[in-house]
């Protein structure tokens, strides 16, 4: 049984059909890279997985739980959608850090906001236990403090992992693109997603800044994190992935082990694509 399984995803924008029946499955701890030319539907697929778009048709399950079914009679409410989204983390091409917060706050903001929900749930639970008001408020205070400490500790560890501990008080406008993207990765990790998704994480970066971001992703791979990476970095995809998926015109044209896909492409489209990519690099 696959960890993440996507069946028959279809998505159109107006009359343009972007996804035409995508089937994809991956195991826990696997890294899947999605390659393909622009307009092939890679990003749309990633956005569908992250519930930023709703597929017109399809089913998605994660860890045995049904997350999406286009035939469901009832649509998910805001709350359900939010909880489902939290299974995934997404790192954007353009970072999308929050400019008014420093690095540390960028990482801790979302967990801190979610803590409010947690506290509410905890309070309800305490009230059901019929504790006195005083006991409840003191228990909540202890709980809140412990959780806050945990959030801060997590953030410190993440900062260390991305090698930006000394930038904790800097604002996004004071960072290089590579540093911004590393913070964005830490921000996504702070919510402990089951699967971390990357949407062309290095496409907005200068070549010399690409390396530092790839290094962080590489380190995550070594921790056996489950990741889906949409990328144009062929060398990196080959290196870091357990599986490469080649998309063209809204379908998965070819998929398999990195070596097979990149060194022995079967389909004509993939051959043309790989030829174009390597030529661009001047190899």
């Amino acid at each position: 049984m696959a960890y993440l399984s996507i069946e028959n995803f279809y998505k159109s924008f107006g009359k343009t059909e972007v996804l035409k029946g995508i089937n994809l499955s991956m195991q826990k701890g696997e890294v899947v890279s999605i390659i393909g030319s622009s307009g092939s539907g890679k990003t749309t697929l990633l956005r569908c997985i992250n519930f930023l778009e709703t597929p017109d048709n399809g089913v998605m399950t994660l860890d045995g739980e049904l997350l999406f079914n286009s035939n469901a009679e009832k649509k998910d409410g805001d709350m359900a959608l939010r909880n489902k989204r939290l299974n995934f983390g997404l790192v954007f091409q353009s970072f999308n850090l929050f400019p008014q917060y420093n690095v540390f706050k960028n990482i801790t903001l979302a967990p801190t906001l979610l803590l409010k929900d947690k506290i509410k749930a905890y309070k309800k639970q305490l009230q059901e236990e019929k504790l006195s008001r005083k006991e409840i408020s003191s228990k909540i205070a202890t709980f809140k403090e412990a959780e806050k400490k945990a959030i801060d500790k997590d953030a410190e560890e993440l900062l260390e992992k991305i090698g930006l501990t000394e930038k904790r008080n800097s604002f996004p406008c004071e960072l290089s693109g590579g540093q911004c993207q590393r913070v964005a990765i830490a921000r996504a990790l702070a919510l402990k997603p089951k699967i971390l998704c990357f949407d062309e994480p290095t496409s907005a970066l200068d070549p010399e800044l690409t390396g530092e971001v790839l290094k962080v992703i590489r380190a995550l791979k070594d921790e056996d994190r489950t990741m889906i990476i949409v990328t144009h970095e062929m060398g990196f995809a080959k290196n870091v992935s357990d599986k490469i998926v080649f998309m063209a015109d809204g379908v998965i044209e070819e998929e398999g082990a990195p070596k097979d896909v990149i060194e022995n492409p079967k389909s004509e489209k993939l051959k043309t694509f790989l030829h174009g990519v390597t030529n661009k690099d001047g190899e």
Partner: protein
């Protein structure tokens, strides 16, 4: 007609100028925000009606709007004026203007300025990149959290310059209230013109100082928000 006497009278008029300015600002900003949300609504009839409303309010002189709010239910405002005059001795003008007149003027100003503010807010909110909303969404935030925790401050930073324009215009627009008999600073100064012209210039100094303070204040806020780029 000494300098100190003129100063005192003008200060009395200026108090109404400030009161009208303050009340308009406090009420038109939240109302403007609500109107901007209505005009951005995905529910087409609502956004259409809101846009027509904004068109009318921005398309008709403020003076005419004051006249309409004041003269349409003139009887009602008149009753209010008389009631407060005879019960509490409150009157705002030389020709029977009172609480009712003042309320009518405030209503006209609030609606007018809310319409202008709403368009500034709309522009600011729509200028924030979709990526900011999406980042908030994938981090599990609610729509309210995204607006207040992420978008709002960026919007404030972006719209500060047009807002300061509007606020400065409001300071001077308050003079229009004298068309229905509110004795604000210019009408107060005008009352002296039979004897001397200089109080008119003097009244201008009040505006200059007020606008100067506002300019400094907006400069300060701008500086405070310069620590980030948005």
């Amino acid at each position: 007609m000494s300098f100190s006497y003129v100063t005192q009278s003008l200060l009395g008029g200026f108090a109404f100028t400030c009161l009208l300015f303050g009340l308009t600002l406090i009420m038109s900003i939240p109302l403007g925000l609500i109107i901007s949300f209505c005009s951005m609504s995905k529910f087409k009839p609502l956004s259409f009606i809101t846009k027509v409303f904004v068109w009318i309010i921005r398309g008709v002189p403020l003076m005419l709007q004051i006249f309409i709010v004041y003269f349409l239910p003139a009887k009602f405002w008149g009753e209010l004026n008389r009631y407060y005059y005879f019960t509490y001795g409150i009157q705002f003008g030389h020709n029977g203007a009172g609480i009712g007149t003042f309320i009518a003027v405030v209503i006209a100003f609030v609606i007018n300025y809310a319409a202008y503010f709403s368009e500034i807010f709309r522009g600011g909110i729509e200028s924030i990149s979709a990526g900011q909303y999406e980042a908030g969404k994938v981090l599990g935030m609610t729509k309210t959290q995204i607006f207040f925790k992420i978008v709002l401050l960026q919007v404030v930073k972006r719209i500060l310059a047009p807002i300061s324009n509007e606020v400065i215009t409001l300071v001077k627009d308050t003079a229009l209230s004298n068309t229905v008999g509110i004795i604000e600073i210019i009408l107060q100064a005008q009352l002296f013109t039979e004897k001397a012209i200089w109080p008119l210039f003097y009244s201008g100094a009040f505006y200059l100082v007020f606008v100067g303070v506002l300019t400094l204040l907006f400069g300060y806020i701008e500086k405070k928000l310069s620590y980030f780029k948005a």
